[in-house]
Amino acid sequence: MDFNIYDFTSFTTWVHNALTSSMSPGWAMFVELAIVGVVFIAFYAVIGLYLVYAERKVCALIQNRKGPNRVGPFGLLQTIADLFKLLMKELIYIKNADKFLFNLAPFIVIIASFMAIAALPFAKGLHAIDLNIGIFYLFAVSSLGVIGILLAGWSSNSKYSLIGAIRSGAQVVSYELSVGLALLSIVIFSGSMQLSTIVESQANGWWIIKGHIPAIISFLIFLVASTAETNRGPFDLAEAESELTAGFHTEYSGIKFAFFFLAEYMNMFIVAAIAATVFLGGWMPFHIPGLDGMNHVMDYIPPFVWFMGKTAFIIFIMMWFKWTFPRLRIDQLLKLEWKYLLPLNLMNIVLIAFIVLMGWYIK
């Protein structure tokens, strides 16, 4: 069986054929689903844990510190140790809390991030679902997490949590718009909402290069808006620790708290992955037309590495944001969205429509 790390389509069809030939179709599907499930849970856990590690290391470097360095070499096992510690922490129940919603909230935030991760194209032929409205789906699912945050804050029966939850409601709801409109600009360029098509359309250059100024503007807007949507600093108003101690997850303890924490990092991964897919060409290698030698070298790097590399780059930028800026106040946050990002975004879309109309982008 020939499969390579450059194209996973043959690999997945081989797995599919092998399964269907050896057992009944129902069982084959079950085993397939089980394999996919195990792989994704493992992937999810590894990404989540190592993003936490990465954030701690990056912020330590920015702050002239060493960061985690005790557990394992360079502290690589630190977050795994933390996970076990959190598993063994007591789950505290809050008096008068709405128990059902209180327990439901971590499920919602995690499920939302799982649903989103399903649609990401990790490499050629390596995606669980390839919907023809992929961007739309991601846009919809990634905003589900806010329901979890709202529920968490509201059901805790704590005043700090409630303020955090309501803040996050207003915030995520607003920034949702900018995320959508920023993604729309690439939909206009590529003429498709299917993620695999969008990636394929960047074979001769990434959209951020091909779409020049308007694409860069949308990329910046997307970065800002998606940082806000994932409740990360400088937009971490929902858990503003100097104001609300821990905001919406004040009352959560142990592993339930860990899920909010994990979901925050997974959401960061998801938005970074979307940005990488849509603006930076997903798993497409970096090509400059004409320079064939370099293009060949770039082709040797597997698509999966390209994808993860681009995602890591965007995650680094988001961390860089977080550890540099002071937090915004709620009214400034909304002002930024409604008076700056949204009008700029609308103007940008008109500009893109015009550019597409005149054909002034690199085709």
Binding site: C59, Q63, G233, E241, W323, F325, P326, R327
Partner: protein
Amino acid sequence: MEEIFQDIIIKKSDDYIINMGPQHPSTHGVLRFELCLLGETVKYIIPHCGYIHRGIEKMCEKNTYQQIIHLTDRFDYLSAHMNNEAVCLAVENALEVEVPERVKYIRTILAELNRIASHQLWWCAFGMDLGALTTFFYGLRDREPILDIFEESFGSRLLHSFNCPGGLMHDVHPNFQKKIKDFIKYFRKILPEYDQLLTGNIIFQQRSIGMGILSKEDAISYGVTGPSGRGSGFKCDVRKHHPYSAYSKVDFKEILYTEGDTFARYKARIDEMWESLNILEQLVDNMPAGDYTVKMKPIIKLPAGDYFQRVETARGELGCYIVSDGNKNPLRVKFRTPNFSNLFIINKLASGNKIADLVAISGSLDLVIPDIDR
């Protein structure tokens, strides 16, 4: 008289009360604000203090004058040296002892170093209040050289009971001058970074400019001193108006801003760091040789009467009021600590603003809670 009481708080039973502190990250210690909220907006704030009231004034009544010194370290621990100096100067003035020039110079240098260290810690904590966590580590990093100087000369980094009535405990370390010069060179390079990171930042400016405006009249009436008062144009720099130690020999500006908002208070402190560097530069090369203390009797008895000494700590005016009845123990020692007066302006400044502004405003007042409670 009635119109002056219009900001007296009237509690209602259906107020949405939320407690901020004593266990809260941004009250910098165990201070409790009882907030009444209207959505995100703060209606009124009732500060509750006394969580770390240790009765230092009562303890002072049982101790001799030398033994008081180490207690004064512990109210405003960030300007420990200036607190010590207040008691020492009060006792020296009461006994009419003239301390050597060298002592005056060293005391002034230490006070300015301590002021820089304190403002650095304020800067990093203020940044953290606003959510910029990196400032915290940069501030602490730059504070380290000062603490090293302290440690080398007096053996402790924060609470150095280094003064004693009549001079200093012992002479400074031989490396003292060289290290200070190194520090000045280092910190002059680093300070502009503070501006890039926070002062010029658009988010920071939006959050601080025009927030919590304190008028000059209020500053005087509420007794808000130090950089907080000077941000409102209240000329309250004790170093300038009632010079002590070697301050009459140095040339420095009193930092004054007239806006009175959070940003003005912030700028006043940043500018004070520059000014302190200037003072240090003027003093460190001209330290006269001489004795580090004058011979004092082992048991000091102040003549009956009362004595008042004002010094400028990093947070404002510290008054040390000693009433003596001629014994070896004082009859009454009262410390007029700057933060005690600075705290109670908070209701006036922050009510009507948001919770986030309350955090920013209380950060800009630079509260040190043990200084309030004593």
